[in-house]
């Protein structure tokens, strides 16, 4: 063969010869030796490579070209580059490190159930609240299916971990709500004032919460209002108890929205059909109105205003326990205004600003009378006004760490009149707080902070340190420890009589473990809470009360095992004793049950667009005061266990272009007897059971929502 021919062969075959292949194979695992499926393995600047299989293995052919760079990438992991020799076959073990992305970063959430952004720790979303059977679309009633809460359906408020309803604070967009519940009558507690649809996020914290929040010994219900609506719309609703309607307008540039809403509730027609245990003598009727304004002031700035005004009248007659044969009349007229304005903006270089202002006023006029007896009726008037401002600066440090500092000021005027006697006071309350979220690693973080408060009416300063640690285990699990001191002013009805009172104090110790994935939530918590300086009313007003609460709680939610079914189970064990008010010594208080459990299930049948809901709640018997017992047996009697089954059916459809829901809800379906306690006559000879005024409530309603912007029709279609 001539040289020419040889060269010819080499030249023509050169590319093919270079193309002789070697095999690159191996396995990709994560830091914990678990296989990583779906990782993309490639030779830099070439098409060669493969995607790993379920067992993490991969294998591909490559043209030998000496030293090459191999790249392994996978969403959620840090990309890896390594030099390999492609002259010969390779068997590689590749370990990918987790990328510290927000989704995988540990969250500091001891004691709290967050229900905000859907990718985060969602427990209860607005629709979850509305479709919880037996909750009657009330935020607090839905939260009563979570662990840590008591089934105290004879009085207003959330009773959390051995705490009273007063010890839970409600916060909307960072601003305190002084009267979150409408005024009820004895044995018929008022509902929460605010609709669940106002809020994009509901965080229920049963302890160990941030230094941002004060004046709550037990718990914080933190509500985050919705941002700009997606479209202009109108809504209307009609039910057996009333009507409501509203409009919301989104500006053309989609940066501003405003809306108004009104509702009218009148229970009288319902009570004409289904007689309550007590006889109606006023209303019950409620008029509510609200207005909102939201403006996106820049890419990152948001201004929000929310205003609410409400009038209610209700009154009942019931048989007098004190004077057999007589009738007791109780009437309450309530007027409430709540306004809230907040502004958030990024100031650049990691700084964020939050500013808020709020004014609220609440007036209750209560009239009680024993008929047909003299003396004359008793008139009680209570009015509380609260003006508050809050400023907070947040500075982001590094990837996840942050520092928060802020201050709060509240001006409260508390007026009360008992017939012709007035007892008024004014309080100037100022607080400052600082808190740092420190990420030692993305999986291990701590929150350290403190809060200091001064109240002019008490004339005292306090300092409350708070700390928590969170450690992530595996992809979905985390351990959390939390500690904190919490102070709260005594209730206004005690401060009125004695300005010398001090703050009440609770110290929380919490340890929790939770496992969170998109479809499952498991959580268990143990806690110990110490109470000091509780208000006592005997022998005179003092702060010598104290107590403790300890317990264990379990929560499980599963949205996957049964298709189209979502259910959750919670169980709480509580051991608590306290010495407060007129208690002779530490006993289990009358609002606390040792065992509480709830089961909530929702099943959606796609074919008929119908959601079926079932809720079962249980609580063991609660202590009650029996004056016929000796002091040594104070509060030793217990009521029967509490059982309640609620059911609901919601049918979703559209009428014309309006999204429409038909709802039928029945509370206490089986009419089980519920006794919350007993009330005794002062001689101890007669007693009444404290029972729900309406043992079983049947709610039927229809709600519509429709777009009001013609341009949006195409979107409405989807």
């Amino acid at each position: 063969m001539s040289l020419f021919n040889r060269l010819l062969i080499i030249a023509v075959l050169l590319p093919a010869w270079l193309s002789a292949q070697v095999n690159i194979s191996g396995k990709v695992t994560d830091g914990k030796k678990r296989p990583v499926a779906g990782a993309n393995i490639s030779i830099k600047d070439s098409y060669d490579g493969a995607v790993t299989k379920a067992d993490g293995s991969f294998s591909f052919q490559v043209t030998p070209a000496g030293e090459q760079t191999l790249i392994a990438t996978m969403a959620g992991y840090q990309p890896l580059e390594m030099k390999i020799n492609t002259a010969e076959s390779q068997q590689l073990d590749i370990v990918l490190k987790n990328a510290a992305r927000e989704l995988k970063v540990v969250t500091i959430a001891a004691g709290s159930f967050e229900a905000s952004d859907e990718k985060k720790n969602t427990v209860l979303k607005p629709l979850d609240i509305v479709t919880t059977a037996g909750a009657g679309a009330d935020i607090v009633n839905a939260i009563k299916t979570l662990p840590g809460t008591q089934q105290t359906n004879d009085r207003e408020g959330l009773f959390v971990r051995g705490g009273t309803g007063y010890e839970t604070q409600t916060v909307i967009d960072g601003m305190l709500v002084r009267n979150p519940f409408s005024s009820g009558v004895p044995d018929m507690p008022g509902r929460g004032r605010f609709s669940p649809f106002l809020f994009k996020g509901t965080t229920f914290s049963s302890g160990g919460y941030s230094a941002q929040y004060g004046q709550g010994l037990s718990s914080a219900l933190i509500l985050e209002s919705t941002d700009l609506p997606a479209r202009s719309s109108a809504s209307a609703g009609v039910s057996v108890i009333g009507v409501n309607g509203g409009v919301e307008t989104l500006s053309k540039d989609k940066r501003t929205s405003y809306g108004v809403e009104a509702d009218y509730t009148n229970l009288a027609p319902y009570f004409n059909v289904v007689k309550p245990k007590q006889e109606v003598n006023l209303g019950p009727e409620i008029i509510g109105t609200s207005a909102n304004f939201r403006r996106k002031t820049s890419k990152t700035g948001m201004l929000k205003f929310y205003g609410y005004a409400n009038w209610s009248n209700m009154g009942f007659d019931y048989k007098s326990l004190e004077y057999p044969g007589s009738t007791e009349s109780y009437q309450v007229r309530n007027h409430n205004i709540y306004t809230n304005m907040t502004y958030r903006e990024n100031l650049g270089s990691g700084w964020k600003l939050y500013a808020g202002a709020s004014f609220s006023t609440n007036t209750d006029k209560i009239k009680t009378d024993t008929l047909p007896k003299n003396p004359a009726e008793t008139n009680i008037g209570v009015r509380s006004d609260l003006t508050q401002t809050k400023l907070m600066l947040t500075k982001g440090l590094g990837n996840f760490s942050a520092l928060r500092v802020g201050a709060e000021y509240q001006y409260a005027v508390e007026r009360s009149a008992f017939n012709q006697y007035n007892l008024n006071y004014v309080d100037n309350y100022a607080a400052g707080f600082a808190e740092a979220d420190v990420y030692f690693t993305p999986a291990f973080a701590g929150r350290f902070g403190g809060r200091t408060e001064y109240s002019s009416v008490l004339g005292k300063l306090n300092f409350a340190p708070r700390a928590s640690l969170a450690y992530k285990v595996g992809y979905n699990g985390q351990f959390t420890l939390a500690y904190g001191d919490y102070y709260q002013k005594p209730e206004p009805q005690y401060i009125r009589f004695d300005r010398g009172l001090d703050y009440m104090k609770a110290t929380h110790y919490i340890a929790s473990y939770q496992l969170l994935s998109n479809f499952y939530t498991f959580r268990t918590e143990v806690f110990y809470k110490q109470y000091k300086n509780l208000v006592k009313t005997v022998p005179d007003y003092n702060n010598n009360g104290d107590g403790f609460a300890k317990g264990i709680e379990v929560f499980w939610r599963d949205r996957k095992t049964v298709k189209n079914m979502d259910y959750w189970v919670s169980y709480s064990y509580l051991d608590t004793k306290r010495d407060y008010l007129n208690y002779p010594y530490r006993v289990q208080p009358d609002f606390a049950a040792n065992h509480t459990a709830s089961f909530v299930a929702k099943y959606f049948v796609t074919k008929i667009q119908t959601n079926f809901g079932l809720t079962y709640s249980f609580a063991s018997g609660r202590p009650y005061y029996n004056p016929n017992q000796p002091v040594s047996k104070f509060m030793s009697d217990k009521t029967i266990n509490y059982n309640s089954v609620g059911a609901s059916v919601s049918y979703l459809t559209s009428i014309r272009k309006a999204f429409t829901i038909f709802v039928v809800q029945v509370s206490n379906v089986f009419n089980q007897q519920q006794v919350f306690g007993y009330r005794y006559s002062s001689d101890g000879l007669r007693r009444n059971e404290i029972v729900p005024n309406v043992p079983r409530f049947i709610f039927v309603g229809m709600f519509m929502n429709f777009g009001t912007d013609r341009r949006q029709d195409i979107i409405n279609n989807l």
Partner: protein, 216 residues
Amino acid sequence: MKRFLLSLVVMAGISSATMAQSAQYEQTMAKNIGELDSTATFTPDALLQKAGLFERIGGAEKSQWQPYYYAAYCNVMSALMQKDKSKVDGLADQAEADLTKAEQLNGNASEIACIKSLIATARLTVDPMNRGEQYGMISAKALEEGKQLNAENPRVYLLQGQALLYTPEAFGGSKTGGKALLEVALQKYAAFKPAGKLDPNWGEGYAKQLLQQASK
């Protein structure tokens, strides 16, 4: 003469090696895009293998948007076909990352909008009750955007038609409206000429199939 011939042959050999890259690009892309239509490829797992390949091509080529576009397409189609809904968000994230790269390389914005719509639809399927309103709207808006950018893009009408067909009538879905849109899509497909032979041109067969099903 011999020398001349020799140099010619050598040059041919060398140029075939250097030319290989762009020829290889066109060939590999054409072959793999073609395979996307086969039923063997159109399974959740096989699509992920393809997505990985398209990502590798994109990484090697650096200046071409099409590989990332197809990577996003494969990832989102796989997401839509997943039985295990817990995998959907991760795949949607990956599709979004690919699509961002295609966008940065100035890919066809109308086509990219269609994929955005599909990504939102995939996220919606994870939890229709809670996510329906938000992602339904994002999905619809993306298609509107796609239409504004290119009213002749048949995939816009295909996806709008499909959405109408699969939305329950109670929520504004409509068989007749969906069918009408699919017919528009087919007209647009008949007239549609992709700007380059590697540019998106999928969906005509699917549109016919959907229309057939809807007409039953």
